[in-house]
């Protein structure tokens, strides 16, 4: 995996709260669908396939922990 610099603080708690609020009231299937949409939208916002590929590999690398 690659180590990403922290770009979220100092708003990390505000973000996390908003993320949980976005999921509030959804069942698990709906939440997974929301997550999928969110990943696609964040990918579009990043818009750099090299960065995205690196992030995908990095996220995947934790799977077998």
């Amino acid at each position: 995996m690659s180590i990403e610099p922290d770009r979220l603080s100092p708003v990390q708690d505000e973000f996390y709260q908003a993320l949980m609020a976005a999921h509030a009231g959804l069942d698990e299937t709906e939440s997974h669908a929301l997550n999928a949409r969110l990943v696609l939208m964040l990918a579009n916002r990043i818009g750099d396939v090299n960065v995205l590929t690196q992030l995908l590999q990095s996220a995947r690398s934790y799977s077998n922990d």
Partner: protein, 538 residues
Amino acid sequence: MAYEYKPFSYVPPAGLTQAEPRHAVAIVGAGPIGLALAVDLAQRGIRSVVLDDNNVVSVGSRAICWSKRTLEIFDRLGIGPRMLEKGVTWKIGRNFHGDKEVYSFDLLPEEGHKYPAFINLQQYYVEQYLVERAQEFPDLIDLRFKNKVVGHQDLGDAVKLDIQTPDGLYRLEADWMIACDGAGSPTRARMGLDFSGQTFEEQFLIADIEMEQSPFGDADVPERWFWFDPPFHSGKSALLHMQPDNIYRIDLQLDAGADHKAEAAEDKVIPRIKAIVGDKPFKLDWVSVYRFRCIKLDQFVHNRVIFAGDSAHVVSPFGARGGNGGIQDVDNLGWKLAAVLKGEAKAALLNTYHEERSFGSAENILNSARATNFMTPKTPIEELFRSETLRLAQDQPFARKLLNSGRLSLPCSLEGMALQTPAAAQVAPGRALLDAPLISETGNSWLLNEVQGDFTLVGFGDVTLPDLSGIRRIGINQRADHPCFTAAGNHAIRRYGSGKAYLFRPDGHVCAVFDTPTEQAVLTAKARALGAELENAA
């Protein structure tokens, strides 16, 4: 060694046999908030009568984490050094996931402060020190134990209180009644004020244990250790703190549906503690089981009745924002109430106590609710995000910052509020003072000792301060005909800048900053801080 409780003596009050004199201030509740307020007012020459239904200090350690800002306020009230000497100083917090450390933080990485980021000290010591401090003002503080307020009536320009004692009922009248009667405030209940907010389902077990060896293991360090999913308490969270007298505080998250009476029973608690400390001998000192609540009153000031501390707001404890928030209430209210009673300000100034402290308590509630939500995921998806955050936190710095085991209390900033004169500055108007060490020919001092208590104009570097009555003047790195100091280690200049004059309120918050502090500009700013520009709604 466990604390020895000594009851305070009850003296039959005058009101039982004769008419009470009219009191300036009646403080309901002799907890840390009520006592601190009585001392603050006494230091300003204002009399108060303190009424408490009990006659001992807090049973159980309760509030233990006192923040740097709180200690600075207690320094002004005369017990800061004593608390620091007795308390356990700490500044490092460690978060664990299972048995692995995932993130640690240093709360005060810089030098040049009189007080550390936090000390741990049991609430009963703080109350004892405050009672002893209050007793140093026998002419100004009338402490009445076993005096239970059972009724009150707002008369418009005073409040009438009905008080039950072991010898019967009596009445007294006071210009102002300050309800410092805790989370279950009878004053609030009597007035029928809505006190609803977020209550969390999860319950927490809090235990104080006394042990010779350290539950921190071989490290034996005064730190704050927090576990997500600890090996000894699977799937839940746990917190460990060190207190004086070989007392340790353990917080354990319980199931939402746990039976709180059964959970507080020794046969249930002891195995849980053994799972943490192993075979090391220990003694249970105090146990409590409770639910978190995050609630505040819509309005802290109700004509002549004012709420302070837990009676006005309660938060979940992760973040040390309950007792610390209450002491900031006192710090904010004391000088304002004194100014109103002395005729230096209109009663409308007290509305800014609500404005400023309601904001502060909302900030505390927001932070502690976020921490509690992070600690206690409610749905499978919340659980999933939490566990993946923990997984990423093994090596991703951003994920470590997301781990929220309580964002620990920082001084509340009052930037942009009515009493402050806006200015661009390193320490913006509204922020609490940043302490710094000072040197003078007569001895060493700290900025907080020179600034707190009264309106104080401080000149940093090359700036000339006008001589104005009612405003204390201090110079730093300058020569003048008022007290001057050198900034030790240059900390003060680095923190505040050079060639600037800062006007501090009596509670140590900056209320104005000047490049050229003319008489007119300083007087206008001081008048504004005393509420001159407010509508007198009261």
